[in-house]
């Protein structure tokens, strides 16, 4: 028996003598130990204590999540390291249904008595709130899976890569930018490992090991005469991968356009060199004349437009009003879905929800209420056909089971409906982005995410990019600055004219999508190929202070 197991079972760590209320379950976060997950047997014992305590107090259903969340940040600026930090959080959250109402409690005191007390408190909260319910919670049926496990497929666990190697990588990236004339450069690596265990009164005991990584940088140059500055961020994507994402592979690059783009391997050096050149071009770029343009949107940009204008409005909790007080509601009301003919977009628009895609941020084996994950159509040939649901919503859509969209960002957060990967399918042709450009008379070709804003029902949005190239008569002729497009979701997706083929398909993503109260983050990917939208309104956002 390892020492930490011993401490847990005896509930007598040395700290306990001084502060009896403190946790006595001793563990460390040294790199070596971070790699050793908590013993599954121990987690099962703790889970059963919570489940039994909840049932004995009258819960009709209970689930428990025991989570160990590791994160590592390496942050640099210019020639120095700003921060190297290792974070770890470990604890248990228990959710119960009692008298038809939800209750939740969480603690990081993991002795038997504290676990049972948390479960009892969750039941008391549920019962107390049940008098404020208009109808009892209805849970879609879910079978227990017994003892199962799932891991992010990866080649190199990023937590095993020594810190000096990570620091060296980033400082070398910065050095490239400074050599290229950057005034400032910052670069970061974010790594996350969720070691989570789920158990429910329905008989599931699910152990999962989930990894994410995100390299990023910002290169800044200042024009001394005008006092103006410009920046360019990395065109990397956060991924559900290990450190292998940072080992470049030529076959994972797309070259030939104005910018080198990356699929499932990222070349940080190459990108920073290009970025440093781009910033100089941005400083000299021509202000965009406002007007209508055909937009060619690279996946490094389009992912966020998909996220905001397709992902969010198809979240069923928003449609129903559960997010009315925070993230907002949705224009995609149930009647539009029921009609089976709501014209969300053109016939080019096939949108798929997915929790399985290898390398994506949303990929898991099971969601945070023990539902095995899958994929399904949300928009089919432009028509709204489905939403994103969890167990207590499935009946509203007449579904017999949940779609597995439940997630909590920590053991001490209540799980709720979160976005799966929501991706625009590529075309069945082999059309490349370079070929797409040739057909455009007056257009703008955009890369990378920048400013983004959308209303609470997801109609009106304004987005801008890291790079905006002017396209005239089928050729890229230079760079624009201050270009942002404003549109309405339905109008925009109906202007979707053409998609490139699957060879151009890439994932973009966000590490920290916010939703819920208390606010929680989640990481989600959005795939697409380069896509063309005709006749979109572009504004010039240039401004001056007096």
């Amino acid at each position: 028996m390892r020492r930490r197991d011993f401490l847990y079972l005896t509930s007598l760590g040395a700290g306990a003598a001084m502060l009896p209320s403190l946790n006595t379950f001793g563990r460390t976060i040294s790199v070596e130990e971070a790699l050793i997950p908590v013993d599954v047997k121990l987690k099962k014992q703790m889970a059963d204590i919570a489940l039994n305590a909840a049932k004995s107090k009258g819960a009709t259903y209970a689930d428990v999540r025991i989570g160990r969340y590791l994160n590592q940040v390496v942050a640099t600026r210019d020639a120095r390291v700003e921060n190297v930090a290792n974070g770890e959080s470990f604890g248990l959250g228990v959710r119960v249904l009692a008298n038809g109402s939800w209750g939740f409690a969480a603690t990081n005191n993991l002795d038997n008595a504290s676990i049972a007390k948390a479960a009892e408190l969750a039941v008391a909260i549920a019962k107390g709130n049940s008098k404020l319910m208009s109808e009892p919670v209805q849970l879609a049926p879910q079978k227990g899976y017994g003892e199962v496990s799932w891991k992010t497929p990866l080649e190199v666990n990023a937590f095993t890569v020594p810190i000096p190697q990570k620091v060296e990588l980033l400082l070398n990236v910065n050095s490239e930018a400074l050599k290229g004339g950057a005034k400032y450069v910052s670069s970061n690596l974010f790594m996350v490992n969720e070691q989570k265990y789920f158990a429910s009164t329905e008989g599931s005991y699910i152990d999962q090991d989930i990894h994410r990584i995100w390299p990023n940088f910002t290169v800044t140059k200042i024009d001394a005469t005008s006092g103006k500055f410009e920046t360019r961020n990395a065109l990397s994507s956060p991924m559900g991968m290990g450190f292998e994402y940072l080992t470049p592979k030529e076959e994972e690059k797309i070259k030939g356009g104005p910018v080198t783009m990356y699929k499932k391997r990222y070349d940080m050096f190459e990108d920073v060199k290009e970025a440093t050149r781009h910033v100089s071009e941005k400083l000299k770029a021509k202000p965009v004349p406002a007007g209508k343009y055909d937009l060619i949107l690279d996946p490094s940009h389009l992912f966020l437009t998909i996220h905001e204008s397709v992902g969010h409005p198809t979240e069923l909790d928003r449609v129903l009003g559960y997010e009315a007080n925070y993230a907002g509601t949705s224009f995609l009301t149930l009647d539009k879905w029921e009609s089976k003919k709501f014209n969300f977009g053109s016939d080019q628009v096939d949108v798929i929800a997915d929790k399985l895609e290898v390398g994506s941020l949303g990929a898991v084996g099971y969601d945070d209420e023990g539902v095995k994950c899958g994929s399904w159509d949300i928009i089919k040939k432009g028509i709204l056909v489905n939403y994103q649901t969890i167990r207590d919503q499935a009946h509203i859509l007449g579904l017999k089971e949940s779609q597995g969209c439940c997630y909590a960002d920590s053991w001490d957060s209540i799980q709720f409906q979160r976005m799966p990967n929501v991706s625009l399918a590529p075309d069945n042709t082999s059309l490349t982005a370079a070929e797409m450009v040739k057909d455009v008379e007056k257009g703008i070709y955009m890369f990378g995410r920048n400013s983004y804003s959308i209303d609470q029902q997801r109609y009106n949005f304004q987005f801008s990019a890291q790079l905006a190239y002017e396209v005239k008569d089928g050729k890229i002729i230079g760079m624009f600055k201050d270009a942002a497009y404003q549109s309405n979701t339905q109008e925009f997706w109906n202007a979707c004219a053409k998609r490139c083929g699957k060879n151009d398909y890439r994932l973009g993503g966000t590490f920290s999508d916010g939703k819920g109260q208390p606010s929680q983050v989640s990481a989600v990917s959005h795939g697409s190929a380069t896509t063309r939208f005709n006749g979109v309104k572009v504004i010039n956002t240039g401004s001056k202070l007096g």
Binding site: V81, G103, F229, N325, D412, S451, Q486
Partner: protein
């Protein structure tokens, strides 16, 4: 219960420091205990009680620093989190900007803790939410809201003798009330340290009346308008400007506070003469902790006086480099105003737009602080001193710096978000397009 007293926190911090082998070490220990209840569609959706505590260690050898954190507190874990931070420090390259730790400091005792708030239970929360739900149900409207309270402590100790501790409470409430047809929506939010100041019933009634009053909105042309911003709307748009009161980014030429040709805009008339902004951790309406994460004392500070920029925040490193005293960022800002109420501002307006709040605000141009975002939950057309009719929501493209140059009147400040903010009458505010969102 994760709320340690000053003495309990001190004991753990001392113990952690006793394990340190580094040249210098700084340890922080923070905990919170609180609960929340969330409701939507006129019923409770989720509720929980959460108890957390965590400790983090910064260890430094020479100018090499490493950090590690943990949420377990037996001796073995404490020793290992220290050794982990030390391992990381040894691996880290030198930080040329490392500043030696501060020694013992004197901090004023804050006014952030309130016994009534600390005593809140799940039943207190359910009872308060019950009142809000009754307002919505009685008016045949739909409520979605959130009530949360917490008690927290923050403490830090370093190997040079600095020790700081603060205990605080907060209770926050917000509710969105919509009509059944989905054609009208109203919103309020409020937070206090002291529960007895929170009137959930009165707040819910305001949201309900906005839900009804905003139904049937008419579209008017986007363009430049005189606006009356409720304190919440003003607070929404000014948050990012407060973060820009930073000397370093200004000196480096990448902020709206940068002067063309180099240097900062400190001492310049950047705003209208009637704009005065200060911070004071001892403000009884808006108390905050009296120290920041660096261990610097927070004191009453003028940031803008008669429209002139009086101070910018200097980190310890940047202050040393520039040969000035360090000045920490404020935790909360007070914008001074007059005695006029929101109603008074409306009465004095010939033609204008009343904005309840803004939403999804993002930076478009950091150099001018140009922002974009949308109005939400109650936007109204004013004519001849009266609210005439609700109007459809707008997207705006505007800079708060420009906005504070166009101030026509400021009303009486109220606690809103993390500030004391007055309702504001602003001319020539730019709305760029219409939104169908309600």
């Amino acid at each position: 219960m994760a709320i340690l007293s000053k003495e309990e926190a001190q004991t753990i911090l001392k113990k952690v420091l006793s394990f340190s082998k580094a040249d210098s070490c700084e340890v922080s220990l923070n905990g919170s205990n609180g609960g929340n209840i969330r409701y939507a569609r006129n019923a409770v959706s989720t509720a929980g009680q959460i108890d957390v505590m965590s400790l983090s260690v910064n260890s430094t050898f020479g100018k090499k620093t490493g950090s590690a954190s943990i949420n377990e507190f037996d001796d073995s874990s404490l020793k290992k989190v220290v050794s982990r931070a030390e391992e990381l420090a040894k691996l880290a390259p030198e930080n040329p900007e490392f500043m030696p730790l501060l020694g013992t400091q004197n901090f004023q005792e804050s006014k952030t803790f309130n016994e009534h708030t600390a005593a809140m239970t799940p039943d207190t929360r359910a009872e308060m939410v019950g009142k809000s739900l009754n307002v919505a149900k009685a008016a045949n409207l739909d409520a979605a809201g959130f009530l949360e309270n917490s008690t927290r402590f923050n403490s830090v100790m370093n190997s040079k003798g600095l020790f700081a501790y603060n205990k605080s409470t907060s209770v926050s409430f917000s509710v969105t009330i919509r009509n059944k047809e989905g054609t009208g929506s109203g919103y309020v939010e409020q937070d206090f340290n002291d529960l007895s100041k929170m009137d959930v019933l009165a707040l819910s009634k305001i949201a309900a009346s906005k839900a009804t009053g905003s139904a049937g909105a008419k579209a008017i042309e986007p363009g430049k308008y005189t606006v009356i911003l409720e304190p919440l709307a003003a607070s929404d748009i000014l948050g990012s400007m407060f973060r820009g009161f930073d000397a370093r980014s200004a000196d480096e030429g990448r902020s709206f506070m940068s002067k063309k040709g180099g240097g900062t805009r400190l001492g310049e008339q950047l705003f209208s003469e009637n704009v005065n902004i200060y911070s004071d951790p001892m403000n009884p309406e808006l108390p905050s902790a009296t120290w920041n994460g660096d261990g610097l004392a927070l004191k009453r500070t003028d940031w803008v006086k008669n429209g002139v920029v009086k101070n910018l925040a200097y980190s310890r490193f940047w202050a040393a480099k520039k040969g000035v005293e360090p000045l920490p960022f404020a935790r909360s800002m007070v914008i001074e105003g007059g005695t006029q109420s929101l109603q008074d501002l409306i009465k004095s307006t010939e033609k204008g737009i009343l904005v309840t709040r803004f939403w999804y605000i993002r930076s478009v141009d950091p150099q001018t602080l140009l922002l974009t975002g949308l109005t939400r939950d109650g936007t109204f057309y004013i004519e001849n001193g009266e609210i005439k009719f609700p109007i459809k929501n707008f997207r705006f493209n505007e800079s708060p710096v420009i906005m504070l140059n166009n101030v026509e009147a400021l009303g009486k400040p109220v606690r809103t978000g993390s500030g004391m903010i007055p309702p504001m009458k602003i001319k020539d505010f730019t709305f760029s397009s219409l939104s169908d969102a309600i």
